[in-house]
Symmetry: C2
Subunit: 492 residues, 2 copies
């Protein structure tokens, strides 16, 4: 097969790149660090987006759209946020090109079209949104504001990777405004739950909910909640974050409201986001050396049907039967594709749909038709079985559900086997280097120790799990007292 | 009512601005020429987008996503396209901010982070997409490519207006690649039909399909097809365009394919787009001095129910009945809102939902309940009638369909009454100044005459209608021979 990819054992990182390209999820572009999301990858993103969007709406949120540009003076208003993103901002300085007098047919930036104030391309939209909320909020009656936007953002990363870290990416960012601290915290936690629900039940990727240490917090947040997932190479990946922003942005943009007692106070804020990075997590959590493995609930194609025939007569008989099955499956809401193209042989198609991670393949030949059966093959386990045609449309939804569950169970078993409690530095380093995965260890709670551990091992504190039991112990590095274990890992 | 807006008769332009702001469709932003699309406006856009997206997919198209940035060297590759957009491009020149040493807490563009090659923010994506297609197309087997993207684009307009002309706007842009000229032309025309279908049958705005003159063509196109609508002030508005791009972009980006005979040829292209500008067209085609009037098929709220009561007991009885009706309507796929908020009186709510253009209002009081009726009020005609409660859920879909039809009929009657054939210059100017609307007149076919007419009257040739009969005549300005009438108008 021309589409063979590097194996995971050989080079995990190369396997990932090969897979993203060969499964036609994305492509490199002519712009440094920016990718093209190809139709198959975008169809996957649409399914993820639509499921999330429904969850946001079901929890009372509405969508809106704010400008791509943030004037520099607004961008710098919330100091920590500005400091956190200043180093990776794309900046618009001019608004016109003109013919280059020295090079025929070429254009140059028109020096006379320099902006009075530079515009930052949003790396995140707190600044432009809170500057807008100032006009929307006067009284407690205007609260809460529960707004989300689906948008592109730009962060000028020096080292980029398809989906995982790109200069431009697609995401959603929720920005909510509340009358009380308590209500804002409830919202922060609610959206973390929505993300965990989505990633576990749609993407079939188990996550650990936790809180970031101050070092790892979103710039401008009082608390950052996160969900952390584990990839097959034992590295962690932050799959989504939900921030309690306190009154930081309200103070920076002077957004006050009068409460029921007519007293003025600053508004409380949250923000939360997930991005196309989730596609990278999806690929690395489930796929194998033959290609992508997609969970049925978000797979662009859930079932592919491949006919095996010689001559027009056999083809017509198969078509006749398959068309009826396709109709029934579509009616049941199944995303099915009948690939009867005569430009490729069945074996090539089998490999192609394996590469693309289609959960179920049904193959049917002339003899199958005579016997009233078809062959059903699962992408996840590679199991094949012969199924009576009169049972197949009833069976397919059950098979899809079984695959969804099996992917989650497998990922969860792997993840659970890769949370290792350790109590000595030697063990800590040994697990990180050999077993990999999350390491549950005591930490003295200081940023200095966290930083020193990162320096020595490249491992970061992924989170303090929400479900953490209190447990006294000694810091893995300094031996100082610690009140709980935290989760360390090397991470994407 | 605090929300009164300027009347159309008083100042049409101010009426439009007032309406967009007071109906909460959009808001001005801190960024010059950029707007905030508010949740109500965005919900409208979502309904429009989803309907269009389904039509694109039903005609075989898939979505993808290409970078926001276009390197200057790619941007300038197709010369006419580059020339057409060079004057209104936002340009990224730097990728980092740093602390300003002279102003504490302020940031400045880091001069050391200057890009080697400037990046143009896409005003349209032909360049970046055709540079990508080069890698996707080798053989006729790779064709056609039928891709669409939903994206934000930036055109640095000097005079902006909410929705109608903004520096950043949301749109979709289809970019297709074909093996033959004929197939590309069929695609160009197919998408024009899709746009006309959408604007007429969803937005209830009648359009004229036509072809642009060379002067008014998209920069880089061989032919631009368009749909033109008429606003209530007698000005035209271009509602969508579909371009036959010939081989221009294939040549600029060297995109060739080998055909069935293994002969190399350049690929044929189309592109087509509609934008959030359509919301401006929608507002100006239907609304009145009390606010927005929305066609039911795209209205975010199709039916609002307002209770009229004194005391908790009456309220409970009404709730009980209304909740059942709401359930039934939702089950039938109707977007219904029960506004039982106690923060506003019924009269205020009536005015609010009239401002927001909700097609149907159902009001129900304690006495209505006793008599088993409710009052149904149409936003378009302001007609009210008493309807038996046991018939109301069956009647509402019929009323919505009637409103949809009535809006179209009314707009069409107005439009048809405003296409005026004229045969003298005096009459031409008189109709433009007094009757307004489209003027159907002979033109000698030269860009010079077209330009001269524009200079003298501010009227442009909106299109050469596709349905135009051949008719010999004399040019309205020069008296030179003409083979057909074309449609002139002042336009947005």
């Amino acid at each position: 097969m021309s589409k063979a990819i590097t194996s995971r054992a050989q080079d995990y990182s190369q396997w990932y790149n090969d897979l993203v390209l060969k499964a036609e999820l994305a492509d490199y572009s002519a712009v440094r660090g920016c990718m093209v999301i190809k139709p198959y990858g975008f169809a996957l993103w649409e399914n993820m987006r639509d499921a999330l969007d429904k969850m946001f709406k079901d929890t009372g949120h509405v969508n809106a759209y704010f400008p791509l540009f943030v004037p520099k003076s607004l961008f710098e208003a919330e100091e920590k946020n500005a400091e956190g993103f200043a180093k990776e901002c794309a900046i618009v300085t001019h608004y016109r090109l003109k013919a280059d007098p020295n090079q025929k047919g070429k254009l140059m930036v028109d020096p006379e079209a320099k902006l009075e104030e530079e515009l930052v391309i949003r790396p995140t939209s707190e600044a432009i949104i809170w500057n807008t909320y100032k006009n929307w909020i006067q009284s407690y009656r205007d609260l809460p504001i529960l707004v989300n936007q689906w948008a592109n953002v730009v962060r000028w990363e020096m080292r980029t990777r398809l989906f995982l870290r790109t200069a431009e990416f697609l995401w959603q960012e929720g920005h909510t405004a509340h009358a009380t601290r308590a209500e804002a915290i409830v919202e922060t936690e609610r959206m973390l739950d929505v993300y965990a629900d989505f990633v576990e039940n749609w993407m079939a990727v188990p996550v650990i909910k936790g809180i970031k240490t101050p070092n790892e917090r979103f710039a401008g947040a009082e608390d950052t909640y996160c969900i952390e997932a584990l990839m097959q190479d034992g590295k962690a990946l932050q799959a989504g974050t939900s921030h309690f922003l306190g009154q930081n942005f309200a103070k920076a943009f002077d957004v006050k409201f009068s409460d029921r007692e007519n007293k003025l106070d600053y508004v409380w804020a949250t923000s939360w986001g997930v991005s196309t990075r989730l596609i990278g997590a999806l690929v690395m959590a489930h796929s194998d050396d033959d290609g992508l493995i997609l969970p049925p609930r978000i797979a662009p194609i859930q079932v592919v049907i491949v006919p095996i025939y010689k001559g027009e007569e056999q083809k017509a008989a198969i078509d006749n039967k398959v068309n009826a099955i396709v109709e029934e499956l579509k009616h049941a809401g199944i995303r099915v594709k009948y690939d009867d193209s005569d430009q490729a042989r069945p074996g090539w198609k089998f490999a192609e749909y394996e590469m693309k991670g289609v959960p179920l393949r049904m193959a049917i030949g002339a003899r199958d038709l005579e016997q009233g059966v078809a062959e059903l093959a699962r992408r996840d386990t590679k199991e094949k079985k012969s199924v009576p045609l009169d049972k197949i449309t009833a069976m397919i939804p059950l098979e899809l559900a079984a695959i969804q569950q099996q992917l989650f169970d497998r990922a969860q078993a792997f993840r659970n086997a890769h949370i290792t409690p350790v109590d000595s530095w030697e063990e800590f380093v040994n697990v990180l280097d050999n077993k990999t995965g999350f390491v549950s260890a005591h930490w003295d709670g200081t940023p200095e120790t966290e930083e020193a551990i990162k320096e020595k091992t490249k491992a970061t504190i992924r989170c303090i799990p929400l479900s953490n039991p209190a447990e006294m112990g000694d810091c893995i590095l300094t031996g100082k007292p610690s009140a709980q274990r935290v989760l360390f890992a090397r991470a994407y």
